[in-house]
């Protein structure tokens, strides 16, 4: 099997001491930011991009992946102990986990989350290792029109299909696509949307957008509703370890959660929320103790946490094999690749197998590190939650602006950062999703260049998009995914009227 050989070679790269160190830094940082409310893995990668561009690409990418996995582990700790899920993917965990913590079973809740994340992360990474070469063989035959169609699918699924409102999701996406237009057009050298400002000719920096939306926007949003939310930290009481019964009730939800999380993450279907909620409702239905749900059922923590981590690994499948990011963190990782002039896709597997397989192999190592770090050190991570809010957010904003100042210390760039911060605040206030903006900015220019390549091959005939069976199918899927939520919303409204 090719995958075994490739993975073994990758493991040889991953266990080099420097790469192990990068993985360790990554998982430590990732867990810390996952635990801290207000910063997530996408923001952390964004903050580190300007700092790491002088470092070794392989090591930096291993670190970014460690941050991604670590953020998922850390997020569950916050969800369980203070019931404020850092990201929507931890919402299901907070439902049962916080109840368990209140009932003095915080230890087993954290344990089942950590072990479940490990099981799911490991299985899903194996899935990634075997699915990736197969998908790469398939993707080698993709023409530019197929890539364009694939990106259309990603655009629609990320923004419209699974969000709370397709109109607001698509609005976010189109704002991102608009920002992606800014700068010099690569084919004709003409400036678009630059309004004569020289700093805009290079386009909008992904890091400035992400830091503005995630860090500044989040700080403004949290401060604006300071008087509404009261966070209460549940101390971890009792034993950390799971009883025999806990194990018996946990292992099936772990596996089922993985089965939900990995495929949904791997298909460009966007977001970890769907699999976590699917897992939660499935466990509730299958449980022998349905009466415990809502009062702290361990299955309701084990399943969604596994689904959450499996989908994070699944997201790496389209990212590495097709260059297609389907979450904000994946989009930031793509920006990380681009920073080193690397473009994920079939070509990267052929040209830099050491880098790609080293990255995949390091995910196994990161998972083991996270399991070892999380269970015994949970007390230490919990201490991070005791940082007073004023200093926490003041510190976050100082680090956030430092990244931008280090990359481009100009008044224009910093004003853009503040502007994106205001935008992020307003988007949170009016419930527009953030991730589609980032995905639109980073994927929009790639989609346009693929489309224009396809058009110049076909001498400007747009029917070329439908003549390739692959791209015709994908565009059909995109259309269905776009229309479906509107139709289903209509059905839902119809039903509501009937009641």
């Amino acid at each position: 099997m090719d995958a075994f050989v490739a993975l073994a070679n990758g493991m040889a790269v991953a266990i080099q001491p420097m790469n192990m160190l990068y993985a360790l830094i990554g998982v430590l940082l990732g867990t810390a930011v996952g635990v801290l409310p207000g910063i997530g893995p996408a923001l952390t990668v964004a903050l580190l991009l300007p700092v790491t561009y002088k470092l070794d690409p392989g090591g930096s990418l291993i670190m970014f992946a460690g941050i991604y996995y670590g953020g998922m582990y850390g997020g569950s700790t916050t969800a369980i102990l203070i019931n404020t899920p850092g990201e929507s993917a931890s919402m299901a965990t907070a439902l049962e986990g916080n109840k368990m913590a209140k009932a003095g079973r915080g230890g087993p809740a954290l344990a089942t989350a950590a072990i479940g994340s490990f099981v799911a992360g490991t299985i899903a990474t194996i899935g990634l290792a075997f699915l990736a070469p197969w998908l790469v063989d398939f993707a080698v035959h993709f023409g530019p029109e197929d890539y364009f169609a694939l990106m259309c699918v990603a655009f629609v699924t990320v923004s419209a299909t699974f969000g709370s409102s397709p109109i607001r999701g698509l609005t976010s996406l189109f704002i991102g696509l608009t920002l992606g237009l800014v700068g010099i057009d690569k084919l004709t050298g003409q400036p678009r949307l630059a309004f004569g400002i020289p700093e805009l000719l290079d386009g909008v920096e992904v890091t400035t957008l992400a830091v503005g939306l995630f860090a500044v926007g989040e700080a403004l949003y949290v401060v604006s509703r300071r008087h509404h939310s009261e966070e209460k930290l549940e101390p971890v009481r009792g034993s950390l370890w799971m009883t025999k019964e806990d194990w018996q009730r946990s292992w099936k939800p772990w596996l089922r959660g993985t089965m939900f999380g990995f495929p949904i993450g791997a298909l460009p279907a966007g977001g970890a929320e769907i699999p976590t909620f699917l897992s939660y409702s499935t466990e509730k239905r299958l449980s022998k103790h349905p009466e415990e749900f809502g009062k702290g059922a361990i299955e309701g923590v084990a399943g969604p946490e596994a689904a959450n981590n499996a989908s994070a690994a699944g997201t790496l499948v389209p990212l590495l094999t097709l260059g297609l990011p389907t979450s904000a963190t994946a989009a930031m990782m793509l920006a990380g690749f681009q920073q080193y002039g690397l473009n994920p896709g079939p070509l990267l597997f052929a040209e830099r197998p050491d880098l790609v397989w080293g990255l995949i192999a390091s995910l196994f190592i990161a998972n083991v590190m996270l399991l070892v770090l999380n269970l015994p050190l949970v007390g230490l991570w919990v201490k991070l939650l005791a940082i007073p809010q004023p200093w926490l957010y003041a510190g976050i904003l100082v680090f956030a602006t430092t990244g931008t100042i280090a990359a481009k210390p100009s008044v224009v760039e910093l004003s853009m950062l503040a502007g994106f911060g205001v935008m992020g605040f307003l988007m949170r206030r009016f419930d527009f999703p953030i991730a589609p903006v980032v995905v639109g900015l980073i994927l929009g220019p790639i989609a346009e260049s693929q489309l224009r390549r396809a058009m110049s091959i076909s001498l400007g005939d747009p029917m070329a998009l439908l003549q390739s069976p692959m791209s015709a199918t994908l565009l059909g899927i995109a259309l269905i995914a776009l229309v479906a939520p509107f139709v289903m919303q209509g059905l839902g409204r119809f039903k509501a009227n009937e009641d």
Binding site: T178, I405, A406, M455
Partner: protein, 161 residues
């Protein structure tokens, strides 16, 4: 009583939603205007103006969609906001931009932001926060310039290092 025509089920027009819809329509107009400034002498294939126009059409449709949602009052409910705190952080950011722009250097600029943010979050110890912010940003400055060899803007204070 005339503004409550059909009982409580009637939802009110959301004026913020109308503003969002207008802003999207305005953005679409800017895109079309900007695209009209581009030259397209590309006989085969697709010129640089096509994508902006396509995106502008999308934004136009979404402006209508957002307008419909706003008129139906379908926007999510919002809690009252602490506007003073938001403006305090924005003021801190403005101060940071001004200090950097005028060549005041990294440490005073980020210290100002630190104090403004901490105050916005309810701290009332400006002197103590000034000291904490100053120490923290000085450490960051030294770490960046010495360990990462990345240069941050230097003012009179930073030149002492």
């Amino acid at each position: 009583m005339s503004d409550l025509p059909q009982g409580a089920a009637e939802r009110r027009i959301d004026s913020a939603g109308v503003v969002i819809a207008l802003a999207l329509a305005g953005l679409a107009a800017v895109l079309v205007w900007d695209a009209s400034q581009l030259q397209s002498n590309n006989p085969y294939g697709m010129g640089p103006h096509v994508m902006p126009v396509v995106i502008a059409v999308g934004l136009g449709i979404l402006a209508i969609g957002n307008l419909v949602e706003a008129l139906r009052g379908n926007l999510p409910a919002r809690e009252s906001a602490d506007a003073k705190a938001v403006w305090l952080i924005l003021g801190g950011l403005a101060l940071l931009i001004a200090i950097i722009g005028l060549g005041g250097g990294f440490i005073p600029a980020t210290t100002a932001l630190f104090v403004a943010t901490a105050t916005a979050f309810g701290r009332r110890a400006i002197l103590a926060d000034l000291a904490i912010g100053f120490v923290m940003t000085t450490l960051i400055y030294v770490a960046f310039s010495r360990l990462l060899t990345l240069s941050l803007p230097a003012g009179p204070l930073e030149r002492l290092f």
